[in-house]
């Protein structure tokens, strides 16, 4: 008797499948745009106008770091809650409602961004439909109101998803009053809690300041204020999209390695630490911002460094669990056990390679977090290298590997081709190696990020090693390999979905633990306590900086109107304009 997720929760399986496919579509479009950018920036092949590069970049960013990751997250979390509580959601109509809300939000923001490619975009609500403002939408760059509305609708959809998980957990709690929260559900709930805390900042920023301003209701914004409110959310969101990957590493990877999770109590400690520390460190993205006193930056820096702890603990637990699995499979010796791991399995190999790349990302992250050394790399391509290792590999590669497990679970169909899948995860690893190595190196000699043509009239870059041309070739090569890998992934997903039903789908279970929940104090499950502490930490870290920003610039800033820089300008005009200025 087959006991896949589809057999246990057929209704939930349909919503999760829909969420995954939404996420794959965003991944497909965003990934192809990534190739366009890589080829354009490196001057290997330019077939779009440079001003359009920024439209491509906005779409690449929003589609991949918001739409792809969060759709995958809501799917994974719904799976985790229902599987670990062994009960369905309270009402699948509610589940469909938040999913559809997220689709509407994503579509609205997406359409607004993509109309930036049109020669003459339609004018709606009194302004042209476009949003060439990048993923960070720093005012006074101004997007069409639909972009902001789309983002808010998407985020509110994700809030309702959180309500759904909490509701399901509370229903389970009534049925099982004395049991510990199962680990996967514990991870989902803590993650959701810090998501509520952090998205409050960006939602207020949009609803109170940016949306009324783009609609012409208010006249001016305070750019430093909206920027600070963005980063209040902007670093927690990176943990938000990382948490499903962590959840897979903790609850599935030990199983795929053939063993058990090393320690349930420490996994709980890790997630509590993320709940506490994810938000009060956003100012570390603003180390180089004027108008924020050094002391606040120092607080953000210490919080960031302490957030290394949960990731270092995860590194230990995950490797220890893998070793345990390998030894169960007959592995021996100090390092010889590595040979005994199931390297033929794309799910295991993908996740293991993703975890390894995440370790490398941790190193460059420590550099970024070091506020004085950050001067050298801030806003250079180094940073882009860093987050292609984090969200681009640790998260994306784990998600792709997990999909090889999830899609058969959700469809009841066997994975189309395991060898192609193995090749795909290995190609992703190789492609990222080429690309991020070059990006990191180029950041050290100051090559900027977010630039269509990093070639300047008045000076040349002086790499300590190699040449700029070589770095460009390495990035382009990496991007081509990554696109190939992405195509293989999507092919496998499509072929699996149109394949025929199979009876040999493994049971839907998650990893057992060597040291279980009973080894941890009950206080770890006291979500109210941790939430209260998290809120206090946020208040400590943010009250004074926000107060001083508002005190200096006012809530709405000194008469700062929006700049819609996306209207098409004749390059010749610009050329003559800059001549005049010189």
């Amino acid at each position: 008797m087959r006991n896949a997720y589809l057999d246990q929760f057929p209704d939930e399986a349909r919503v999760i499948k829909a969420a995954f496919w939404s996420s794959f579509i965003a991944l497909a479009i965003g990934g192809v745009l990534g190739l366009v950018q890589a080829l354009h920036r490196t001057d290997v092949f330019r077939f779009i106008q440079s001003p359009d590069y920024y439209t491509v970049l906005t779409a690449h960013g929003v589609l991949l770091v918001i739409v792809f990751t969060i759709f995958f997250l809501v799917g994974t979390f719904t799976w985790a809650v229902t599987t670990s509580l062994d009960r369905g959601v309270v009402d699948t109509r509610f589940t469909w409602a938040w999913y559809i809300m997220m689709v509407i939000g994503a579509a609205l923001a997406g359409i607004t961004i993509f109309s930036g490619f049109l020669e003459s975009a339609p004018s709606i609500l009194g302004s042209e439909l476009n949003a060439d403002v990048l993923f960070t939408f720093y005012a006074p760059l101004e997007a069409h109101p639909f972009f902001y509305i789309g983002l808010v609708v998407f985020v509110v959809g994700s809030w309702l998803a959180g309500v759904d998980w909490f509701r399901t957990w509370l229903a389970w709690r009534r049925e099982n009053p004395d049991e510990r929260i199962p680990l996967p559900t514990f991870m989902v709930l803590t993650t959701t809690l810090f998501w509520y805390i952090c998205t409050l900042g960006v939602s207020l920023s949009i609803l109170v300041f940016l949306l009324p301003w783009s609609l012409g209701i208010t006249e001016s914004v305070n750019p430093l204020l909206t920027r600070t409110m963005f980063w209040y959310f902007g670093h927690a969101v990176v943990y938000f999209w990382l948490m499903p990957a962590y959840l897979m590493w903790y609850t599935m990877l030990p199983k795929f390695s053939g063993g058990k999770l090393f320690s349930d109590p420490l996994a709980r400690v890790v997630f509590v630490l993320f709940l506490l520390l994810s938000t009060p460190l956003g100012i570390h993205h603003q180390y180089l911002d004027p108008g924020i006193a050094e002391g606040y930056k120092f607080i953000a820096m210490t919080n960031t460094m302490f957030l290394l702890l949960p990731s270092l603990l995860t590194a230990f637990t995950v490797v220890a669990s893998m070793e345990h699995g390998a030894r169960q499979r007959g592995g021996e010796g100090y390092l010889g056990w590595l040979k005994a791991l199931p390297w033929r399995d794309p799910i295991f190999t993908g996740m293991a390679l993703a975890g390894l790349m995440f370790a490398a990302a941790g190193f460059s992250g420590m550099i970024n977090a070091g506020m004085n050394i950050n001067y050298l790399v801030h806003n250079t391509w180094w940073v882009v290298g860093h987050f292609h290792l984090t969200v681009g590999t640790a998260v994306a590669l784990t998600f792709m590997a997990a999909s090889y497990w999830f899609i058969p679970q959700l469809t009841g169909k066997e994975l189309w081709n395991r060898s192609v899948a193995l090749g795909q995860v290995v190609l992703w690893f190789i492609g990222m190696t080429f690309m991020t190595n070059a990006m990191h190196r180029s950041g050290l000699f100051g090559l900027p990020r977010r630039t269509a043509e990093p070639q300047y009239q008045g000076f040349d870059f002086e790499p300590a090693v190699g040449t700029v041309g070589e770095i460009n070739m390495q990035v382009a090569l990496g991007a081509v390999i990554l696109t190939l890998s992405l195509a293989l992934f999507l092919l496998n997903m499509v072929m699996t979905s149109i394949g025929s039903n199979s009876e040999s789908i493994p049971d839907n279970t998650y990893a057992d633990t060597l040291s279980g929940a009973e080894d941890s104090p009950r206080i770890l499950d006291n979500l109210k306590l941790w939430t209260a502490i998290a809120v206090v930490l946020v208040i400590i870290a943010y009250t004074l900086p926000l107060a001083s920003i508002i005190d200096a610039g006012g809530l709405f800033g000194p008469d700062i109107e929006g700049f819609r820089l996306s209207t098409w300008v004749d390059p010749a005009v610009i050329e003559s304009l800059s001549e005049v200025i010189r």
């Binding site: 440079s50 603990l313 990020r449 008045g458 000194p558």
Partner: protein, 268 residues
Amino acid sequence: MNIHTYEKVWIVASMVLIVGFIATITYGAVGPGIAMIDDDGGDINPDEINDDERFAEPGVEHVGGNEYEVTVVAQAWSYTPSEIEIPANSEVTFYVTSRDVTHSFSVVGTNVNTMVVPGQVSEMTAKFDEPDEYGILCNEYCGEYHHTMEGKLNVVPEDEFDLTELSVEADDEIDAGNETTITANVTNGMQEDLETTVSLEIGNQTQEEDVTVPGDGSEEVAFTVDSADLDEGDNDWTVTVDDYEESGTLSVVTPEGNESADGGDGDA
């Protein structure tokens, strides 16, 4: 709570690492004195940049000794001034603000790197020991020609650096037989006095005058030119002080209605 021994060791090692990182960063701040960009620059209304004491005339100013101040206004998609010259062995404080959107002011390959947020003034101090040439670029997306936004920072040898400015006032023409004055105005932006020589070349003659221009002041030198020493028609002149020169043309004309060139006492 049951924690494995190896895990305890690992936690302790992690904490040591974290505290070590914080310690090195703190050392960087207090030891070598790497200060963060902060709120010292104050705020400014972008619409009032042209009336602002500091930003009305952006550029290099001498504070005294080896200290300089450089003010820069960023806007889509250029810096004013686009080219900055400072001497080696100097300590330079940059003040940068934006007229429109968020930019950055980043001197390539150095630690001089700041965000430029409209409404705020970024202030940062850096030392330049050796003569060199640096590119300046904007590394924050600021619109569709963001990639064209660049500048230049030239660090020149100390003895080649000054903040001298020369402007000359001169008539375009004089009547034959008359005299005119060519006035050179030498401004000294440095805080120390400037001892130099102003010279005027006109026709085939040269006049020179030694001047001492006070620190942060200016001095006028007037040269009297007699048309009798010049040829009829155009006479090119050049005023030179140190490496600066300004040229023009002085035309000697015969007053209206007078055919002869030798005198102004015609029948007019």
